[in-house]
Symmetry: C2
Subunit: 346 residues, 2 copies
């Protein structure tokens, strides 16, 4: 099965390298092809998502993605910036459903800024829509009637876009504790009002799921106050961007959490939720566990290798139990040494 490896910028190549070692240990069914993406691709080929990279991503059965983001590229025109690569992949491949589990490994109870009893209760999945919202509407700079510069972006969702992500939310809740919380800002936004209306309509197909609604400002509070109350959260692209990063941090180190971005046929792109961390790139300081756990999600969701996924996750837990810690977790292991610790536990 062909896996596209897109290491990208910063610490991306380092964390991908460890992950490939782990994958090679648990299965011989994978074939890897690597292509440049993000700032690295811009520097090499003049575009953050070169045609050959997109083509590889389309051909592959799944994509393992490192990170994009490069301070050298901040002043480029928007369409040439590294971030456009990940936005382009999501859109071109129809990866509309972003799944982000947030749980605290009990071995890392000390890593959260939240009190241990609050953080310890976190066990949720955030489902973020990835193909619509203000991310992909018409946008630009224009002049107002009085000649002032104005920036604008159109936010919108149509009923089909909302219904398909809502179904992912309900299905995910059904496989867990049966609770779905839909987050919007329906008291102010018409986009959110449609969102809420459609989620309620779809809920008729899932009478066994307990549905609630929360305004995004309240959700941001509740994720701090009592994150244990959430099972599955479903929300739009922009609110999901904010809340999923917030939830990850509540659950401890950002170096620990994986994510999957799925299309309608379980093809997916898998990436750690952390970014390219240019400040520590190339120094062996990065924690590879988020990427290794993303690979486990890939085995489970896109490749039908659930047993192998379980083995990786168990090995990560064992490594942590044995005291393996990278810098972000208060330890001293290098990226490669953490990879070794997981391999040793396999």
């Amino acid at each position: 099965m062909l896996i596209a490896l897109l290491p990208g910028d910063g610490i991306g190549p380092e964390v991908i390298a460890e992950t490939v070692r782990v994958l090679d240990r648990v299965t011989d069914q994978l074939r890897f092809e690597t292509a440049p993406v993000g700032g690295a691709a811009y520097k090499a080929e003049g575009h953050p998502l070169p045609p050959a990279t997109l083509d590889l991503a389309k051909r592959a059965k799944a994509i393992l993605f490192g990170a994009v983001g490069d301070p050298d590229c901040d002043r480029l025109e928007r369409h040439l910036r590294p971030e456009q690569a990940i936005l382009g992949l999501r859109k071109e491949l129809g990866l509309f459903a972003n799944l982000r589990p947030a749980t605290l490994f009990k071995e890392l109870a000390d890593a959260s800024a939240l009190r241990p009893e609050v953080a310890g209760a976190i066990d949720m999945v955030i489902i973020r829509e990835l193909n619509g919202d203000v991310y992909f509407g018409e946008k630009g700079m224009r002049k107002t009637a009085s000649g002032r510069r104005e920036g604008y972006d159109i936010m919108s969702y149509d009923e089909d876009e909302v219904a398909r992500i809502a179904r992912v939310g309900f299905e995910t809740a059904r496989a867990r504790r049966g609770k779905l919380c839909s987050v919007d800002k329906a008291n102010v936004l018409e986009t959110s009002q449609l969102w809420r209306d459609v989620v309620i309509e779809v809920s008729a197909e899932f009478p066994d799921i307990e549905l609630s609604h929360m305004y995004v400002d309240n959700a941001a509070m509740q994720l701090v106050r009592n994150p244990g109350q959430f099972d599955v959260i479903v929300t739009g692209n922009l609110f999901g961007d904010i809340l999923s990063d917030q939830a990850s941090m509540c659950a401890g180190s950002i170096g620990m959490l994986p994510s999957a971005s799925l299309d309608a046929n379980q093809k997916g792109l898998y990436e750690p939720i952390h970014g390219s961390a240019p400040d520590i790139a190339g120094q062996g300081k990065a924690n590879p566990l988020a990427t290794i756990l993303s690979a486990a999600m890939m085995l489970r969701y896109s490749l039908g290798l659930a047993a192998e996924a379980d083995r990786i996750e168990a090995a990560v837990a064992t490594a942590l139990e044995n005291g393996a810690r990278t810098l972000d977790l208060g330890g001293k292991l290098t990226t490669t040494q953490m990879g070794d610790a997981v391999l040793a536990a396999l």
Copy 2:
């Protein structure tokens, strides 16, 4: 000096009543006039912001606002919902600058979900723009070319809107620790790109202030990970709605935090950041301290009575030191008893 009292819905009337008792004790320069607002106004007069209420707000030197929000009104057309009252007041009165201090009273270190050492370091002000952004752009429901329902909202800022709130941010930072963090999503939104460009232009007027920029997803993480890093945050209406509620919760009980919404001439509307809490309304369970502290801000910012403001804030601290706690703080005092505790400390 005429003060407009707009108690509103839910616990609004209860917390306003205690606040008036406190104000009456510290000064005899105020004259109060009361008017209905929100769901209460809709029920009495068919509109959440009746003309006489708006007129009173315009005539007054400052406005003391309780809360709006009433589940009975959730299914009304948008323009009749309680929330439209506060949005209408902000817009009609040109209250563009929302100031929300977030600090943890040291007596309440246990009230935060964050570890005491993390929460204890919080001492910031969030400045949120209130008159623009996706809140006030064109919005509505329409059909797509293929006949699907679609909700849309236009997000935008022009350079003057950004410059005036940026100046409030820089001035506020100058009066504090000299650090301003501007929060946007410039890697995706053109509205944010203009925001960032203009904030950088305005920064030339404030060479003494240390300016930084942060993406909103990262800001939501940093507010959990290390909120002590922030002095002043300036951001748009939507991101400010989310981040300021999140920051309040990091700083402890939502029942403690005040806010000011100012126009260009220091006229302001003052309100607790909590909502109408219909579930506990009319039972004497609400904590009046956020409203009492909002009144202190009113004395300081709009009425030039700084000494009286200091007295109120000191009395609140003393009451807490003496062990006064409402339910939300883990105590047993009623709303009135908490008012008594503050009066006793004056």
